[in-house]
Amino acid sequence: MNTENLVPINVLCTHYRVEMSFFSSLEEIGLVDLEAVENTKYIPSEKLGDVEKILRMQQDLNLNLEAIDIVFHLLDKVNGLQSELQSIKSRLRIYEE
């Protein structure tokens, strides 16, 4: 399997100074999906932004992973509502003329 866009989690553990168990918890709660290739676990590099966000929320705000999961869901919701609002606003402009 091509591991070009995958980052082994042991590299991340060293860099972020976290235990392997941190990544297992992420996977367990469903925040990030890990990929296993020949006994090594990897994270897709496009998910690194999320992982770093999770680490910041944990350390800056003392949130646990369950709370962070909720934050992610709510942000998704806000995002959806914002784009809906944007399209309704532009539709409204048609009738305001």
């Binding site: 980052v7 860099h15 932004g49 770093e52 910041r56 929320m57 705000l61 399209s87 532009s90």
Partner: protein
Amino acid sequence: MEYIDYYKVLGVKKDATEAEIKKAYRKLARKHHPDINPDDKDAEKKFQQVNEANQVLSDSENRKKYDKFGKDWKHAEEFDKAGQQRQYTRSGQAGGFAGGGDFSDFFESMFGGQPSSFGGASSGSWGRSRQFKGQDYQAELRLELRDVYKTQKRTITVNNKNIRLTIPAGVANGQVIKIAGYGGEGANGGPKGDLYITFTIENRTSFQRDGDNLYANVDVDLYKAVLGGEITVSTFDGKVKLKVPPGTQNGTKVKLKGKGFPVYKKDSSFGDLYLTYQVAIPTKLTEKEEELFNELAKLSAS
């Protein structure tokens, strides 16, 4: 340079206890944290201020220094002048993308700049130094509606780097396009960050856009509306002739299929153009016209 009242920033009294300061900081950090408020510049600024206030007030040494300094602040004219000069040279630099963790001039003049230069800060931002992936950049590109009718190439400059972009026809207002790998450098071999471009589409045409469809009003003179006839109307990229049937009512809507806006990333696929006829009632009638209208009125009354 302005004096910053860190107690006010955290909303605590001057004699607040350590626990009160910690509580106030935590509460404000939860509210304004940039990860909780994505793409919100005000929140980011607020978070920086709150963070800075906490760096000062949560550390007893820093707090002592700040309290003493604050008292003398109004008399410290010399210092103020030097500060102004510094601020001037700083604002002279063209700012590209504002990175996080910037400290105010006031803070830097008192504590010597870098947050890492003083220990003991009980809690602070997780910090850029720990990022593996490079920083993501945000950019805004303003285009006119006319510009995005056709696919076009543009070169934009982000952090002194020229990036050639192909902007597909039909980009929507507020749409965000991610350009992978055009953000900041990663650390320790980590991947580069990404560049996010938000498009702002300004519409200076007489057409209204809703998704792929366009809307416009078309004036039809009274006689053509009553008797029928041919009119020439402007579409987004040209003119077309339309037949107006006799007895056309004011506000009649006509749909011109495929004369709308190009569909994003769907070659040669277009939305529709909706025209609303606006029958122009003649004002300022000549004597002769008035006479004829009167005659018509009598006819229809009988």
